[in-house]
């Protein structure tokens, strides 16, 4: 990982939550920059050039979604959304608008730090020359388009391979059902979720030791799938 401390821009208007975020992020080895509204966040974003944004959706001067839209115009910076809003459609909407990840309140510190690390690593991954995903026994070479377990190349069907490569390109991030269907099968198939379920099950059968408790191909119920990065 990067030797310098990663800067994390925290946009959160609740003081108690800010206090605890600041403490836990610092303890986790990050450099938090605290802001409590959109105006200050935009200013800090330009001045401090953070590596990651942790964003609360309900802000006093606007909806956090607008902030994502605003920064997505000029930057690929990972954004993790915090929200007390519960529904899965809400989460999907956030991801659609360009958020990288979503944490529902209440969340644990460990969970937040893990997600932050994943998001930062994805940024590293995207800039990697050789573009190789490696986690324990699973290795995916994005350039060559190969998937191997225990160093042995796996035989995948064309659909399975496309799925696997797409997830690897976005490793650590949730890929939504519709996003996967459209990327692998095409835009006409975005409602055919059962294709996705069946092929995910077959991929898991080839990759996972115990498909019911996947190590790599994680399920985000009602949202999509995520390729684990740690």
């Amino acid at each position: 990982m990067d030797s310098r401390q990663n800067k994390i821009l925290v946009v959160e208007d609740d003081r108690q939550i800010s206090v605890f975020l600041q403490a836990s992020l610092r303890a986790g080895g990050f450099q938090p920059i605290l802001t409590s509204n959109m105006a200050a966040a935009t200013q800090q974003f330009v001045m401090q050039k953070p590596d990651l944004v942790i964003l609360d959706l309900g802000l006093p001067d606007g909806d956090g979604i607008d902030f994502i839209r605003c920064i997505r115009g000029r930057s690929d910076i990972p954004v993790i959304v915090l929200s007390a809003r519960q529904s899965e459609t809400e989460k999907v909407n956030c991801l659609d608008q360009g958020a990288d990840d979503y944490l529902a309140k209440p969340f644990g510190v460990q969970e937040l730090l893990a997600r932050a690390r994943v998001a930062l690593r994805r940024l590293d991954m995207m800039t990697l020359r050789d573009r190789i995903y490696q986690l324990e026994q699973l290795c995916i070479d994005l350039a060559a388009g190969t998937v191997s377990m225990h160093g042995k190349r796996l035989h995948l069907s064309p659909i399975e391979q496309k799925l696997m490569l797409y997830l690897a390109q976005h490793a650590g991030r949730v890929a939504r059902h519709r996003e996967l269907l459209s990327a692998v099968w095409g835009a006409d198939f975005i409602d055919e979720t059962h294709y996705l379920r069946i092929h995910m099950a077959r991929l898991r059968a080839k990759i996972e030791t115990n498909p019911a408790e996947p190590r790599y191909l994680l399920t985000e119920l009602g949202i999509g799938y995520r390729l684990a990065t740690d």
């Binding site: 519960q86 059962h194 294709y195 069946i198 019911a212 408790e213 119920l221």
Partner: protein, 490 residues
């Protein structure tokens, strides 16, 4: 036998026939026989033809007898006294008979009408008694009355111009008139004291101002006698209508009371679920803030652990409250139904519970890949509640089991524990009642109420069974599922 010309022709023809017979068989019939035949024609006319025609028939008969039979023949002169008496008596007798028959016939018609109405009224009453639904009741009444009167019928209320109508009904009654009738509780139409020129009768269900409907009948030919009868029928319909209405109100009121009871039960269960951990957290936290110097390191750690553990429990309680609040607005149509993999759903639960280091074991009993048609998040929530219940009674060292199996035509996802089992007298039907008494066992009542709601939304079945060797198995039986073993997905 209605047409007057036909009746006249018939009577003249009969008289002519009898006269001809008398003319040719004068000797053998004799005067008495011929008069008797004429009398027979008069009686026939009196019974089957109109009164005036019957009287005319008698007069023609008298003239014919006079002309052809009495001396001097072929004149209208009557020479002897006997003939005078005979002719006059004949005329009197036939007119008396005609008027008697007319009376009899009217009485018969009245009796027939009355018995027909009584029969219809009985038929209507039988139909009304059988109806359980207000709209069906009104429609049945409209159909029957329209058929009986052979006139179009409709039922209207103030808010709905036509509640229901007979098939042949094409009129659009004036809503102002209907409104007036209902608001005053008085009928309008011919024979009433209001708007006698109307071509409709509008008769209110209630004879006082109300918001009950009114019946509208187009006025037919024999209007005058029908009104009172019609009022009687409307009364009959009205009584049945009010009976159903009041029954419906009672049912709604009972439902409301039931809702209220359930809500109170859940509320008391909730406040227990919330207050207990909050008390623990507050106590531990204030102790740490105010008395930290006096506390040993291990004591401090114990308090911190308690805060963390109780907060975790409170998180679950909050999830349940939110779930319950959300579920109260969810209808079947707002579920995110799709083909879902039960293995994936169980997988996410396993991951979550493993993080809490709960002992849990997944034992699928199916080899084929299966998909269920369900809302994955909802099903996962239901299973999480069942798991929480299972863990609250499970001895620490034995894992809780999750199974997927085919049960007859359903797919069963089940959670099995080795706890004490469900209390005696417990049943799924009184989950709400149980919630009220559940304050001793954490969250059990509310959790199951959530499960039951989700299961009902999926038109699935919840089944609770004791387990051989102790404990219980709670299963969600889903009817919409498919095996995709040989499926050639694109």
């Amino acid at each position: 036998m209605r047409h007057i010309i036909f009746q006249l022709t018939l009577s003249i023809a009969l008289v002519a026939l009898v006269t001809t017979l008398g003319y040719y068989f004068d000797r053998s019939l004799g005067m008495t026989g011929i008069v008797m035949m004429h009398l027979a024609v008069s009686v026939f006319s009196a019974y089957y033809l109109r009164f005036r025609v019957a009287v005319l028939t008698s007069l023609v008969s008298v003239a014919a007898i006079n002309y052809f039979q009495t001396a001097p023949r072929y004149t209208f002169q009557v020479s002897d006294f006997d003939s005078w008496v005979a002719l006059t008596t004949f005329l009197l007798v036939s007119i008396v008979i005609a008027s008697l028959v007319r009376k009899l016939r009217n009485q018969t018609a009245q009796a027939n009408l009355a018995s027909g109405r009584a029969a219809f009224s009985k038929q209507l009453a039988e139909h009304l008694a059988a109806e359980e639904d207000v709209l069906n009741l009104l429609q049945t009444s409209v159909d029957l009355i329209a058929e009986h009167f052979d006139q179009p019928v409709a039922i209207a209320s103030i808010s709905v111009p036509i509640l229901c109508r007979s098939d042949d009904c094409e009129f659009a009654p004036e809503s102002d008139a209907t409104r007036w009738v209902i608001e005053h509780g008085r009928a309008i139409g011919p024979g009433t004291t209001n708007w006698q020129a109307s071509t409709f009768w509008i008769i209110p269900f209630e004879k006082m101002p109300s918001d009950s409907p009114a019946l509208i009948l187009e006025v037919g030919a024999n209007a005058n006698e029908a009104l009172e009868y019609l009022r009687g029928l409307v009364d009959q319909v009205s009584i049945a209508y009010l009976r159903l209405k009041s029954r419906e109100q009672v049912r709604l009121a009972e439902l409301h009371v039931h809702d209220q009871t359930v809500r109170n039960a859940l509320l008391s269960s909730l406040s227990h679920d919330m207050r207990t951990p909050l008390t623990a957290i507050l106590g531990a936290a204030t102790t740490l803030v105010t008395q930290k110097p006096e506390l040993s390191e291990s004591e401090q750690e114990r308090l911190l652990n308690a805060i963390s553990a109780e907060a975790g429990y409170m998180r679950q309680a909050t999830e349940n409250i939110l779930a319950m609040a959300r579920l109260s607005h969810v209808s079947e149509s707002s579920l995110a139904l799709d083909w879902q993999s039960p293995e994936e759903i169980v997988g996410t639960l396993l991951a979550r519970y493993r993080q809490r280091e709960s002992a849990i074991e997944f034992r699928p009993q199916m080899h084929a890949e299966v998909l269920i048609f369900a809302d994955a998040v909802m099903i996962s929530q239901a299973l999480a509640n069942l798991l929480d219940n299972a863990f609250s009674v499970q001895p620490d060292y034995i894992p809780v089991e999750i199974g997927i199996a085919q049960a007859n035509t359903d797919l069963a996802i089940s959670i099995s524990d080795r706890g004490p089992g469900f209390p005696a007298g417990w049943s799924l039907e009184n989950i709400e009642k149980f919630a009220r008494n559940a304050s001793s066992s954490k969250g059990l009542g509310l959790g199951l109420a959530i499960v039951k709601t989700i299961v009902d939304l999926h038109q699935a079945t919840l089944k609770v069974q004791p387990r051989p060797g102790g404990g219980s198995t709670v299963s969600i039986l889903l009817s919409k599922w498919k095996a995709v073993d040989g499926l050639s997905a694109k």
